[in-house]
Symmetry: C2
């Protein structure tokens, strides 16, 4: 198969890594970057100087994920480079120049999600990331460092951090750099301004004084000091040093024409209608006594992994499929029983990881630039964790009553403890709190209805669903909604959805996806960056861009 045409596969494992080495010692994991120049995901560019493309980041995301599940004994993770004078030079510029607009944008979104997953591990999972920089950390290289909790820099007169995107390429750092500079590291805005306009970046004392790095370490002592610092951090971790991890085998899936079949999920693509129908299946049996023994087969974990994989597959490989229709099927009581177990055993390290993973998976859904329509029909099981999927939708339709000629009883939805805290959105609020911003007291009222099956009228009254057509109207109303969506401009929908989905407070995370990404997308469309004479196209040719000077 032509490698340029092959779908991008997000499934990997350490033995297949081309660009990273993963090792562990004394409670510390070392993620060592050593990018294979010839190992680009697509043909046409070489990954020189530890630069990366989506393939490099897929491995990083896999490593971050596996460390959480397979390595309970790891309390700190060091990110470093195998190379002598280069830490990482960021996203590969030739790759960017060759990429379509939608690939660039989807690439940046995934790398952002991975950086946030790193921070999530540091904050919630007891695996604190430390970046140890020898040589140059430029652009995306420094942004990777910014996602870590500590940045150690070799004090050797040449090791430096920089964000040279604006001066060299006329674009923005695309992986949260600007936001993390001023919001996470709280670098003074005038210092940030100077730093981001200085292509060669900063090093040594000024880098530390301006809060760009945390510690300067003589180069001869960098390895040893990094290890010492990481081991100290690991020693304080809440993770159970003596526990045994669970294995994450490859997520199995089968392409069957336009249908993708996973064990607990089916995705049917309707190319003409430009939509994909997800059917998330509930568990087939009661929760196991021992979650650890069940491992990756434990239903909530298995489904999250499949759902995550399906979303990434569709995002990158099916960009014309603009609407995701979300359905579920199964026994609500069994979903509720699994949720009860997740709530009850919240302190177990593995259960904690599974819940945190669902949190991230639901956030992945929130920031997917696809229209999301939930259909709640007889036979569905939108309960607790699965109800979050419907609450993440832009709108939902719930059948009021039964389908004529079907013996399935009327659909119900159910709230569980999992709807009231464990799955906050990027804005820091639960989906219910976000939904009922106008009446926070209503969320408390809903707590009293937890575990009660709510039929369409009750769900509507509770504000949990958008429309409740009956059997007579259902088919037309749903079909029109999905068809109408497919008729709108995808760009307009992306902007609208990005603005309506996240009311209320903003966080570093929502700033990255909304503010920073939106500006970057704009700049990626501007001739000054991506036109034939734009800086991104001319980079490396020695030619100078002639910019349109008008300020918008």
């Amino acid at each position: 198969m032509d490698p340029a045409a092959a779908p991008i596969d997000f499934r990997t494992e350490p033995s297949r890594y081309k660009h990273w080495k993963l090792s562990t010692e004394n409670g510390v994991a070392y993620l060592t970057m050593d990018v294979n120049e010839e190992g680009g995901l697509k043909p046409g560019y070489k990954l020189k100087l530890n630069s990366y493309d989506l393939g490099v980041d897929i491995e990083l995301a896999d490593a971050v994920q596996r460390l959480r599940f397979e390595h309970p004994e790891i309390g700190a993770v060091v990110i470093r480079s195998q190379r002598d004078r280069i830490f990482c030079s960021g996203a590969n510029i030739n790759m960017l120049g060759l990429s379509t607009h939608d690939h660039k944008v989807n690439f940046c979104k995934f790398t952002n999600e991975t950086r946030l997953a790193i921070e999530d591990a540091s904050t919630h999972s007891g695996q604190t990331y430390i970046c140890s920089i020898n040589g140059i950390a430029a652009g995306g290289g420094y942004e990777l460092a910014l996602a870590c909790e500590q940045i150690l820099l070799a004090d050797d007169g040449s090791s430096a951090v920089s964000l040279p995107e604006l001066p060299l390429l006329a674009v923005l750092p695309g992986t949260g750099g600007l936001t993390r500079l001023v919001d996470k590291r709280m670098v003074r805005r005038d210092h940030a301004d100077f730093f981001c306009t200085t292509a060669e970046g900063l090093r040594g004392k000024r880098a530390r004084e301006w809060r760009l790095v945390d510690q300067l370490i003589p180069p001869s002592k960098l390895v040893e000091q990094t290890q010492k610092i990481a081991e100290e951090v690991a020693a304080k971790s809440s993770r159970p040093r003596d526990a045994k991890g669970i294995a994450l085998p490859t997520v199995e899936r089968r392409f069957d024409g336009d249908t993708i079949r996973y064990a607990n999920l089916t995705v049917e693509i309707d190319r003409e209608g430009r939509s994909a129908k997800f059917r998330l299946n509930g568990p087939s049996s009661a929760p196991p006594d021992d979650v650890h023994a069940a491992g990756a087969a434990f239903w909530p974990l298995a489904l999250a992994r499949e759902f995550d994989d399906a979303m990434m597959h569709l995002r990158l490989n099916e960009t014309e499929i603009g609407t995701w229709v979300l359905t579920s099927q199964g026994d609500a009581a069994l979903v509720e029983a699994h949720d009860a177990l997740l709530a009850e055993k919240a302190d177990d390290w593995l259960v904690r990881e599974i819940v945190l993973y669902w949190k991230r998976t639901l956030k992945r859904l929130d920031v997917s630039s696809r229209s999301l329509i939930a259909l709640i029909e007889p036979g569905s099981c939108f309960t607790g964790t699965l109800l979050e999927v419907a609450l993440a939708a832009d709108r939902s339709y719930m059948l009021d009553g039964v389908f004529d000629g079907s013996n399935l009883p009327a659909a119900t939805v159910r709230l569980t403890d999992m709807n009231f805290g464990p799955y906050p959105m990027g804005n820091g609020l639960t989906r219910l709190a976000t939904r009922f911003l106008y009446d926070p007291g209503h969320v408390d009222t809903l707590k009293n209805q937890a575990r009660e099956p709510l039929d369409a009228a009750a769900a509507d009254e509770a504000g949990l669903v958008t429309f409740i057509p009956d059997d007579i109207d259902w088919e037309d109303e749903v079909r029109l909604a999905v068809e109408e969506r497919a008729g709108f401009s995808p760009d307009g929908l992306i902007g609208m959805e990005a603005n309506l989905r996240f009311p209320g407070p903003e966080t570093m995370e929502t700033k990255i996806f909304a503010r920073l990404s939106a500006w970057q997308n704009w700049i990626f469309q501007r001739p000054n960056a991506t036109g034939p004479e734009g800086a991104l196209k001319l980079y490396g040719t020695g030619k100078q861009s002639k910019y349109d000077r008008k300020r918008a």
Copy 2:
């Protein structure tokens, strides 16, 4: 002069309004929209159906401003339409289709600032805006309503509110509509999704139940009920019913080649260097005993009006001038004396208005898409209110010492009470609090240094300035900084500055300028909207756009 080439003039007054009628009665002002179809700012389009262009909004902004200063007796403002079945149909689509990208973006920014000025009047000035809708309020028409504190809608089966931008034009509502829907009115996100994809909008009971409007009123009673409601609101206003307003005469300015001369401000444009140097002059005498008698000649008010006018002139008419160099000249002690008076008489209605106006003017500077470089030289008076201008800059240079051969003493900067509260940025924090996010205690420390002249070393130590070159380095360092800025991509700079200037909390206001505007700018660049086959270009032709379906 060719009207298409004439510079856009932001100075107007009620006797020259073409599109609005302003009347007052019983403490209530009535701003009645009756757009003159033939009165467009530029040739080529007709302002049908109470649609607007920048010229219509310039009059609205002028009226909002004059009501605050000239009408202390007004406690409520009603916005309504003169037309029978149409309230306002939003921004004129033919005008948008004919406009350059930079004009569209700058137009939206100004209309956004005007909507925020309306909300500022309601919140801080005791002039509460009420919108009374008979007929259709579509797009920008409904967004104007959203900027008001109450929305009254005729309950007549045809009056409706709508945001049809996405379905009809493939763009977003550009004046805060999406943000205000979910963040101000806290409309549920699924309701907002349906509403924004329904071109004809909503009316009657559903419009009220979904929180889109506040009250439904039978059409025969709309005028009388609106008056009653407004008079009740006005009666509760904190404004002094018996006070006498001050007149706001036309801001005088003179074009002298590339120099613009105001009484208290000079702007010199360097076309080759693509920069403009602002020189804000300090007061020439001690503050008057009676601010009311001084009126529009009172230095802080006079300078704010001139600065505001200059910024708007440059934004719309000088889009290639990408850097604003900010300087000041005058007696710091006199600035300090004026600040002391502003602080001391903060409860006087007129002083309150002047301070609120400076707040808005400084916010206008914050969101101007120009690089801002402050130069603090001997002879300058960056004190208190004027120091905010330097703190708003992306970076500042302060001469350490004196210029060789000059007898001007070394520059100092001074903090006053005005730096510690009255001028919050859009993010709700003062510029000092935003600057020192990493150490909030430092702001308290600075309070102890208020009114102390700080020389370059002290200002640097206090973190108030970026660089302090001495006489030997000054010229080269400043010249290089300004030249370097002019060499960068304007688009990249806009995005970078928008991301670095507003760390910390986000508000509806920062969301509108950062998140919503950035997405809109992106969409304005996308062929699906503005390409030759884009929806904005084909609107009204009967032709259907063929969209690129890829989701970015």
